[in-house]
């Protein structure tokens, strides 16, 4: 897969998906648009994690750190300045800067893979505890109170850059999150076909060999980590815009674990896996919530265990294996 440029059918699928997505809001009511937009936004978060893990071999358990940071940065900046376009971009840049700092110490410190998972998880939990502790009046950035565990309500909606008087409404958020999800997915897919992406996959396969060949693996890993931090930050900003609300729950262990579950269910070896995983799990948990089964988390846990034990590759790669197997069987019968 790696190294190959996308085939014509891939581009055709992307085109079709874009057309369907852009037409969809005309046929969906507002509640559906909201439900689907949040799946797109969370899929971006899953994509950032799946890219790092599946392609770069780095299991970051704490992409929620950059997700939450993106959301909070946007909220604080936009509320202080009353201007949302620059807040949007600065929030993403701050997430990337934070990823650069965290990633530098982990990757240049040459800590092992398992510790990278632990440290990223601890970072997001520290941020969560930190934000939760800011309920007092003294915790103010500019004119914005951080509000501790109540979070920040009244996060401004995005204004159109060319017309700040107009704010994005629910269908606007749908268009924006759908377009950005497609854009990030296509961008990452093309990145994997580039020299950078091919070296990154080489690092996942055998970091020592990459270094013996003369590549400085640390630079590639750090670049991938910062990029993924930016994507998670983008998801965080969109999350704040979507619900006009950010809270410490964005950093929470539950959220962090869910991202890993989405990626495992969808499959990490393909970029589309985390997107599909997010959609399936979110849809499933919404559906379970309406079925009166009691503990939704418990059932999701069962689903996760089935995937880890039975479908180790995740949904999509397993389906592809099954198709390949059926094809071989049919081919043999004909021969």
């Amino acid at each position: 897969m790696a190294g190959e440029r996308p085939a014509w059918w891939w581009w055709a699928s992307i085109g079709t998906a874009l057309v369907v997505l852009m037409a969809a809001p005309s046929y969906l009511d507002i509640a559906d648009q909201l439900d689907i937009s949040i799946i797109f936004i969370l899929a971006l978060l899953a994509l950032s994690m799946g890219f790092l893990w599946g392609q770069g071999g780095m299991l970051s358990f704490g992409q929620t750190a950059f997700f939450g940071l993106g959301g909070y940065s946007y909220a604080v900046l936009a509320l202080n300045t009353g201007e949302t376009t620059s807040a949007f971009f600065i929030a993403i840049a701050l997430s990337m800067a934070f990823a650069l700092a965290v990633g530098y110490f982990m990757i240049y410190g040459r800590i092992s893979d398992i510790y990278l998972s632990v440290i990223t998880l601890v970072v997001t939990l520290i941020l969560e505890k930190g934000i939760r502790a800011t309920s007092g009046d003294q915790y103010v950035i500019g004119s914005v109170r951080l509000n501790g565990q109540n979070g920040i309500p009244t996060v401004p909606s995005l204004q159109l850059p060319w017309n700040p008087g107009t704010e994005l409404f629910i269908d606007g958020v749908f268009y924006l999150s759908a377009a950005l999800l497609v854009l990030v997915y296509v961008g990452l897919r093309l990145l994997l076909a580039s020299s950078f992406g091919r070296v990154l996959v080489g690092i996942r396969e055998n970091e020592r060999r990459v270094e013996l060949l003369g590549y400085d693996a640390r630079r590639y890993k750090l670049a991938a980590f910062v990029l993924a931090g930016g994507i998670a930050g983008l998801a965080g900003v969109l999350y704040g815009v979507w619900g006009n609300f950010v809270s410490p729950a964005m950093f929470h262990l539950n959220q962090a674990a869910q991202v890993v579950i989405w990626v495992i269910v969808g499959g990490k070896s393909w970029l589309i896996g985390p997107v599909a995983g997010t959609a399936v799990v979110q849809y499933l948990s919404n559906w379970l919530g309406t079925q009166g089964v009691g503990q939704v988390s418990l059932w999701l846990g069962v689903v996760l265990m089935i995937f880890v034990l039975v479908f180790r590759e995740g949904l999509l790669p397993t389906a592809a294996l099954a198709i390949a197997w059926v094809r071989r069987r049919l081919g043999r019968r004909e021969a």
């Binding site: 020299s195 091919r198 013996l212 060949l213 590549y215």
Partner: protein
Amino acid sequence: MTAPILETRALEKRFGGVRAIAGVDFRLEPGELRCLIGPNGAGKSTFFKMVTGQIPPTSGSILFQGTDISRAEKHEIGRLGIGIKNQVPDVFNGVALRENLWLAARFAHGAAKAGTLADAMMERLELSSLANRPVGELSHGQRQWVEIGMVILRDPKIVLLDEPSAGMSIDETNRTAALIREVNRTATVVVVEHDMQFIRQIATKVTVFHQGSILAEDSFDRIMTDQRVRDVYLGRHGGA
């Protein structure tokens, strides 16, 4: 005497209380094809790993063309021009054969030329029919060749080969020997081996490691008749 391309001075590596390499002074002239032999645990692989930055030395120094590289990072040593095939095939198992060679070629020659060079290397290794197979599915011998191919694609000045003929059939071993002689036309080569027939085919000069030190260094024929070397290999003790 010409300036050595590689030299180690009082090189030492301790693992806990064990001196895996105990003060090795090693000299390699440009263009040589040297073989390192010695019983298991003599420190041959540890020595290779120190020269390529995979293990930092405890003390002593490693000089490549006069520059001290004993504290350099793996990728810096790779860039200077020391390539290594490790003992266990050290390739990108989950990735196609052609991609393995492409990654090696791309670093030294840029993305534009890498594809052509990778294809040429597959021809040379007679593995073209397997271009799109993941390397992990190939035989042990084929993977060894892929790794040697990756090392050569970097155009290194020194090529270190740790047991290049291990697990190969006689026919494959002969091809490997031919390949090594070919590499030696443009690079200095050091080979760690156990197979004496193989060493006889390729070596001009042999260095014998024993318990982390150099025991002897001479031509193949002289080494084979050296009583100390025989003792070390057959486990006899002096005077017994």
